[in-house]
Symmetry: C2
Subunit: 477 residues, 2 copies
């Protein structure tokens, strides 16, 4: 593949993964830095990926009965302070507004880092009877967390996300919701991102501030580090109690409803980059790609070439494929390189020689394979290829996950696995001391206790006591 | 129409328009107040109206070549200070964050009231050549303006909006963009909101801080007050110069590009309420209504009633109509009232007596007319009725606009018109002193100089000097 042009500027992935990542974010024009550390600019190409994710999830949320709302972007400090565990978790990284219209604000305003407080406080006003339940709300917005170390998409002072917040009459129903939404995130990986997730439960140490239980989807990046890609929390009625949310149940008794929240963010874009990208740039899974097919005319000045390119575009668009024809005066080589960096799944070359034979040349971005196809039925050919590419990319990511998830029965084995890169699959006694030990010794954290709990030993790999859970450790972003 | 239930709680529109408005916002469950003044909660029904507006405009923006981006929600004070006229206009109403992660922030952060600074600063980094132009960006977000007097949707400390920001090589192209986007807003009124707008140019006094020219769409509310519903600004290259945005033109010379910005906000929801609403609640134009048809079963326990209601729902949904069947155990009277308050355009009653005759009873929310229609072809009947309602509502609003736009040739005539409620159509010398006089005397502001400049006099109605422009005055929100 042609990488003699600007791809040269991309650092090799195996040489320096971190630099390679930053190069891709910039060269593929996904983002730019702003003047404020950690507040990035989502450029059109990066934002368009987010729009694809939004569109998929918003349909799923609505299909499952959720409604969108918008809550204030600020939380009065007095309100934020109501749930103890929650405030302790978030207080150190808050951005606080203290001046409004030139005057000091008495009850200072926290720029929302997450909105449990706001939703619960509102629910207090609108939930009175069991008839008002469940409440299934979601919002699309940005949140602010004043992080010290920031990285585009992975850890930002501001990032885009959705946060679902629901209230239920029964514990069972709330627990069901928690898992239902986790499964929707998992399906997003399968359908759109071509990323296989490990679903599981977080440890007490790693759970969300204020939650009783946190579940997550975890992915393995190309460099063997883990990335938490989404979480779903069960709160019990702790927030309900703290905020005084009560309803009269069928039995005439006053009760506190049971609560959940769940979210994914633009961090998923970081996941897409690090699972699929290569030395030539992004490799976008077809169904999340803003441009699924780019058509590059060869010898554009020759009669019929540009016209045929536009004709093929129309055929593909009729199949709801997102197509771009690049008719600019840049060289084909420049264009090949440009759309390679941007990870466009399929490139179609339309040139005079091929046209004489009623064929085009199609290249697949994921493996660089190039083949000639008839123009007749090209729209069905491309539909088929997009599906093929998606499957190949998912399978490759799954192979990588399986290959790099290895059993460890001792601290030494854990060390070897997480240092090489990958998930160490470990039996654990459930003691936080053991969890801390792995973190201190190897800078690897517990990712989750997978739903599939198939014991591989009866002793804790860290302390040797009786094992309770199967757990994954990894270095992580 | 049944208003013996909760509509009683709505203040009469003619008695107290302001209270009627607030009642509707709350009773129709469009919004709720939060703990922070001016920061409202957009409840599902209110947010769903905004989603309809977003969906329409986002398609139009993309059709005309615009791309969505997301800029930081904060602006460093030092950056905000770069364009003088702009900062003077906005500084008094800024919310400022001064503490991050427990520490004082040196370059304090303004929560964005509008994003000209951020866009222009970013454009500086990505525009180098005429080949990089035009740049046609838009973002959907919330903005914060620390207003003293706030009202749901009309004037908020925080509101939702879109802001387009574009850069062009030539002045002509930028001017064309300014008008093109104004026309898209105008069309939104015709297609979706059933609101006729007056398009025109703002005076120097009323234009946007930092703009060379501001154009607006203006609507007349039921109480005869005006509402500015959207604006489009031409900036020349003032911001470009202040921020150092330069490109090399075809002729090899360094130039500053020409800029526009344009926006509409959730204020449009306030417009919908005040143009169309009545004493029984909201009256939503069909194409912006989250629920276009509600089906209320009568004697639901009777065999076949609920089933038929669901059957009709399916028929309508196949025509992409947004339908709700209310199968709750509340009385039909309660339901009638509920969906009246919520302004659902069409109500279909499905009862056993009608079913025996293969008919249903359909009520139009806009005029309360009730008729019987055959169930055969019900989906086409409803499609036709939705269109009819839209036209009737637009025409009614247009009649109101025409009826209450009156010529004034003297201060006394201006006074009479704006006090009664309506637009005073006036010839004006162009002098700010005259504009100020009307404001001071009658608390009426200049709304715009309509594009249709058909002189009605040769003297200024205020000072008697030679008239230059036709202008509209009104009391306004």
């Amino acid at each position: 593949m042609a990488n003699e042009f600007k791809n040269k500027a991309i650092t090799s992935r195996d040489e320096d993964f971190a630099q390679w990542y930053t190069d891709l974010c910039k060269k593929a024009e996904l983002m730019d830095y702003s003047d404020v550390k950690g507040f990035i600019i989502y450029r059109p190409y990066g934002y368009a990926i987010w729009e694809q994710i939004q569109s998929y999830l918003d349909k799923e949320f609505k299909r499952t009965g959720h409604q969108n709302v918008y809550m204030p972007s600020v939380i009065p400090e007095s309100l934020f302070d109501k749930e103890k565990a929650h405030v302790e978790g978030f207080a150190p990284e808050t951005l606080i507004a203290t001046i409004g219209g030139g005057e000091e604000i008495k009850d200072r305003l926290i720029i929302r880092p997450t909105s449990e407080c706001l939703f619960t406080d509102h629910y207090k006003n609108i939930i009175n009877s069991y008839r008002d339940l469940p409440k299934l709300y979601n919002q699309w917005c940005s949140v602010v967390r004043w992080e010290k170390t920031t990285r585009p998409f992975l850890r930002g002072a501001e990032f885009l996300w959705q946060e679902g917040h629901t209230m239920h009459a029964s514990e069972d129903e709330a627990r069901e919701e928690t898992i239902k939404m986790l499964n929707i995130y998992d399906q997003l990986g399968k359908d759109l991102l071509a990323i296989p997730f490990v679903k599981g439960k977080k440890t007490e140490k790693e759970k969300f501030a204020g939650a009783l239980e946190t579940y997550s989807i975890e992915a393995l990046m190309h460099d063997g580090k883990g990335l938490q890609c989404g979480t779903s929390h069960y709160f019990g009625n702790e927030f309900s109690k703290a905020f005084g949310v009560q309803y009269i149940d069928k039995d005439g008794k006053l009760k506190n409803p049971h609560q959940t929240s769940w979210g994914v963010s633009t961090r998923l874009i970081g996941g897409i980059i690090m699972v699929h990208g290569d030395d030539n740039g992004l490799v976008l899974p077809p169904y999340v790609a803003p441009i699924q097919v780019v058509i590059v005319p060869i010898q554009m000045q020759k009669e019929g070439v540009a016209g045929k390119a536009l004709e093929i575009k129309k055929l593909l668009e009729n199949k709801n494929i997102r197509v771009k024809v690049d008719l600019s005066d840049k060289t084909p080589g420049w264009k090949f390189s440009e759309y390679e960096v941007k990870g466009v799944p399929i490139r179609i070359e339309v040139g005079p020689r091929d046209l004489a034979n009623n064929v085009v040349t199609i290249s697949k971005r994921n493996d660089g394979k190039k083949e000639t196809y008839s123009i007749d039925g090209i729209e069905n050919t491309v539909v088929g290829l997009l599906e093929k590419i998606h499957k190949e990319m998912y399978q490759k990511a799954l192979d990588n996950l399986i290959e790099n998830t290895k059993e460890a029965h001792s601290l030494e084995e854990i060390e070897a696995i997480v240092n090489k890169g990958g998930y160490a699959k470990v039996m654990w006694c459930g003691d936080e001391e053991c969890e801390n030990k792995v973190k201190e010794l190897y800078q690897a954290t517990s990712r989750c206790m997978p739903f599939e709990q198939i014991p591989i030993d009866d002793k804790c790999a860290i302390c040797g006591k009786k094992a309770k859970y199967l757990i994954l450790f990894a270095k992580a972003y």
